[in-house]
């Protein structure tokens, strides 16, 4: 299992990289940590003529805490997992990251790579959609930011154009009176999730739901943000959680594959949905 022969380019700056993408367009493939692309190259599912290795671009792994939390595209998953300040500001990532692959793959795997690859079951894209973060894309002609909910179009398909590269992800900071929770079911810890659910719930002073973001991974062809608008103002209690989980799970159109049937995925979505909602509500109550 060896990849096809490819030309190799190793730009040292974003300018060099975007100039290359401008020149090569769809012939070039961006190589970040290689935790998804590497296997696909070895299996020859991808046969690029040129690989643009962005591992040595200085500063692309930056982590900045200001109004939002900026995680550079080449930040390694393991480094973010060890960054307690950052995890304090984006608590959902603390819950999510232990499920992203394994120790050995997080040592190399990146945030930008996971988002750019857009596996429907990947946890980092799910977390970004749940929190309402944005994807920063840079091309020679300029920079734009795409809301995560609009970035993922389908299996391994995104809003990124051929001359663009992901340079950072922008994460909203933790809010007051908010709870965050994540759960998934996979055949083995670290494997692709059969279903994954993440949520952020903000409560008003009277314990009612002020904002609720609930999203599902591994169920449809991309992370799906549920419509929870009809529950705003409802009490944040167990009865609401059960009602929300049931209604939202009914609205999903789950995939069917070798790992699970559509019905099983829907059942998981309901069960995990209930559990993350209860946990998020309890977090706020307990704080």
């Amino acid at each position: 299992m060896k990849p096809v022969a490819f030309d190799y380019c190793r730009p040292e700056s974003v300018e060099e990289a975007t100039a290359l993408l401008h020149e090569l367009g769809g012939d070039a493939v961006l190589l970040a940590g290689g935790m998804s692309l590497g296997p696909m190259l070895n299996m020859r599912l991808v046969r690029p003529s040129v690989i643009v290795d962005i591992n040595r671009i200085e500063g692309l792994d930056r982590i900045v805490l200001n109004d939002s939390v900026v995680i550079g595209a080449m930040a390694r998953q393991g480094d973010v997992m060890a960054d307690v300040n950052l995890l304090g500001e984006v608590p959902l990532l603390e819950a999510v990251l232990p499920h992203v692959g394994h120790f050995q793959t997080r040592n190399r795997g990146t945030f930008g790579g996971s988002v750019g690859h857009a596996d429907p079951s990947a946890e980092i894209p799910l977390a970004l959609v749940t929190l309402g973060g944005t994807v920063e894309l840079t091309a020679r002609r300029g920079v734009r930011r795409v809301p995560a909910a609009e970035f993922f179009h389908g299996v391994l398909t995104t809003a990124r154009r051929a001359d663009e590269m992901i340079t950072a992800l922008h994460w909203p900071r933790r809010r007051r009176r908010s709870g965050y929770a994540f759960e998934e079911v996979a055949q083995r810890h670290g494997d692709f999730a059969i279903a994954a659910v993440a949520c952020m719930a903000s409560l008003g002073e009277g314990g009612e739901l002020a904002e609720l973001r609930l999203a599902f991974g591994g169920v449809e062809d991309r992370p799906i943000l549920a419509d929870t608008s009809s529950f705003i103002g409802a009490p944040a209690d167990g009865a609401s959680a059960a009602e929300i989980a049931a209604k939202v799970a009914d609205g999903l159109e789950p995939m069917e594959d070798i790992a699970a049937s559509a019905d099983y995925r829907r059942a998981l979505a309901r069960t995990l949905g209930l559990s993350v909602l209860e946990r998020a509500f309890e977090q706020v109550a307990g704080s």
């Binding site: 060896k2 096809v4 030309d7 296997p39 394994h102």
Partner: protein, 171 residues
């Protein structure tokens, strides 16, 4: 910017187990193949070649990573540790000795990768819980041992390393 044609061979220099090495590789040559076939370091094993089994794990610039999902050209100038660097001549290091004592291996195919993962893991977690060790091992596949001996070996080695540290500090 480095730019190399698909069929061009490029001379790659790097440090492995404290020694400088060099070899030639085309861009598509995997780091695992480079270590084995260019440098003759056959201790690093290759199982699945798509990042799943962990047999090929080596330490690159301080981190335990798969060597089958990166290219030799990417490791230009890197500092690499492989299983060949663990023992001191015939003398096993504490971790290897623990694997020996706890039946942490049978055929040994998975061992090189697990040992290198454990070296990095123990550096970050000098006193790991059993759950943490098992979580780290989820990135490896062993078809012989049932993992139990491996878990005990790593926990014991962590104890051993700890005692050694104590002695050094006490001196």
């Amino acid at each position: 910017m480095r730019r190399i044609g698909g069929n061009e061979r490029h001379r790659i220099e790097l440090t492995v187990n404290g020694r400088s090495h060099a070899g030639e590789a085309e861009p598509r040559m995997l780091l695992s193949d480079f270590l084995r076939h260019r440098l003759g370091l056959y201790g690093t094993h290759v199982g699945c070649e798509h990042g799943v089994c962990g047999a090929c794990t080596v330490i690159v610039d301080g981190r335990a990573v798969r060597s089958c999902t990166q290219y030799a050209i990417q490791a230009e100038g890197a500092t690499i540790e492989t299983v060949e660097g663990l023992a001191d001549g015939e003398r096993l290091n504490a971790l290897q000795q623990a694997f020996h004592e706890h039946h942490g291996l049978q055929c040994g195919f998975c061992s090189a990768g697990i040992l290198m993962s454990a070296v990095h893991f123990l550096k970050e977690n000098p006193r790991p819980s059993e759950a943490a060790v098992r979580d780290m091992l989820s990135g490896h596949i062993c078809r012989c041992t049932g993992y139990d001996g491996i878990v005990r070996a790593i926990l014991d080695a962590a104890g051993t390393l700890k005692d050694q540290t104590k002695e050094t500090i006490g001196e």
